[in-house]
């Protein structure tokens, strides 16, 4: 029987990652700031903490950076993964406690910890996402290619599918994506928040 061959992907050493981080150009740093705002605002973590955690994981080896992936892209992906992990922790948070914790040393019955904050937080997140989702779509007039493209991106359509459906060549497609990014950046310059007036 044929054995499946698992390709060995070479990864960057710790020193290579550290050197690359310390040599970031101005635009690298601004890209990372934008990305950290994006992912932090969508999840329950501060942007600076998110970037610090991504760097820590890159340097302690808990995340491996393939040599064919740029360090900026690698850190962006790490931030995405960490932010998603934080959200999942919130969604899956289960309040566990010993039955003994319901009484104090004298055997008096204590109020049990209220598990509702995590449920409330999750509901607020879901409610906020629903508001933000509709607000973002409303920035683009219904029936326009830009609106259809935003909806398609939200629905996980590939670039090829979007180009075909919207009848755009590569240049027109790239221009449309840029227009969308610019409009969203102007509306939400420091990441997305449903609280924004």
């Amino acid at each position: 029987m044929d054995q499946a061959v698992v390709p060995v992907v070479a990864t960057r050493s710790r020193d290579e990652i550290e050197s690359a981080i310390l040599a970031f150009t101005d635009d690298d740093l601004l890209r990372l700031r934008k990305v950290s705002w994006f992912y932090a605002s969508r999840h329950t973590i501060e942007a600076e903490d998110l970037l610090q955690e991504a760097i820590a994981r890159a340097l302690d080896g808990s995340r491996k950076c393939p040599v064919n992936v740029g360090v900026v892209k690698f850190l962006a992906e790490a931030m995405r993964s960490i932010a998603h992990g934080e959200s999942e922790k919130l969604e899956n948070r289960v309040v566990t406690r010993s039955l003994d914790s319901d009484t104090d040393e004298e055997g008096e019955v204590l109020d049990p910890p209220d598990p509702s904050p995590s449920i409330e937080e999750a509901m607020i997140n879901e409610e906020g996402a629903a508001i933000l989702h509709d607000r973002i779509l409303s920035l683009f007039e219904e029936g326009t290619p830009a609106r259809d493209m935003v909806q398609g991106m939200m629905d996980d359509w590939s670039a090829d599918e979007l180009r075909e459906v919207l009848g755009l060549d590569k240049t027109a497609y790239a221009s449309m994506r840029r227009l969308i990014r610019r409009r969203l950046n102007k509306e939400y310059p420091e990441g997305w928040s449903h609280d924004r007036e």
Binding site: E18, I21, L29, I55, A56, H84, R181
Partner: protein, 142 residues
């Protein structure tokens, strides 16, 4: 169209991923110009970010050094523990401090008459089990 709140969250995540891809693919000139236009103070943000990444690297290095020190300390403690000699008279004194249940357990483990070697081995076992403390200052004399 997405139907419920959960799928709207996922839709936003997908849009965010697509826009992050665009940010990563944009040219340096585009990024600098767009940042200045949308947020202003690009130079200040660059300076803040540079300080942040330098601090993050320094913290990661400190963490690694602390972990390395802890590893060395742990390794030293293990080798010291292994090398700590036990005097036979001290071993007998320690055995006398054991409860009958502890003695019975040890006897069952050895399943034979207790020689000096058995006794010393039992004391090592008790130290490994945490029943007896490791005497770091012992010179092996009772």
């Amino acid at each position: 169209m997405t139907e419920n709140k959960k799928s709207k969250q996922q839709a936003l995540d997908r849009l965010a991923d697509a826009l992050v891809d665009d940010i990563l693919d944009a040219s340096p000139e585009e990024i600098l110009a767009e940042f200045e236009e949308d947020n202003g103070g690009a130079e200040r943000h660059v300076a803040e970010m540079r300080a942040l990444v330098e601090k993050s690297v320094a913290m990661a290095n400190k963490r690694r050094l602390t972990a390395a020190k802890a590893g060395v300390a742990s390794s030293r403690a293990s080798s010291k523990k292994a090398a700590t000699p036990i005097d036979i008279n001290e071993a007998r004194r320690l055995m006398n401090t054991l409860t009958p249940a502890q003695k019975l357990t040890l006897a069952a483990r050895k399943e034979s008459e207790q020689s000096d070697d058995d006794l010393l081995s039992m004391i090592e076992d008790l130290r490994d089990l945490g029943v007896l403390p490791i005497d770091d200052d012992s010179d092996g004399k009772g």
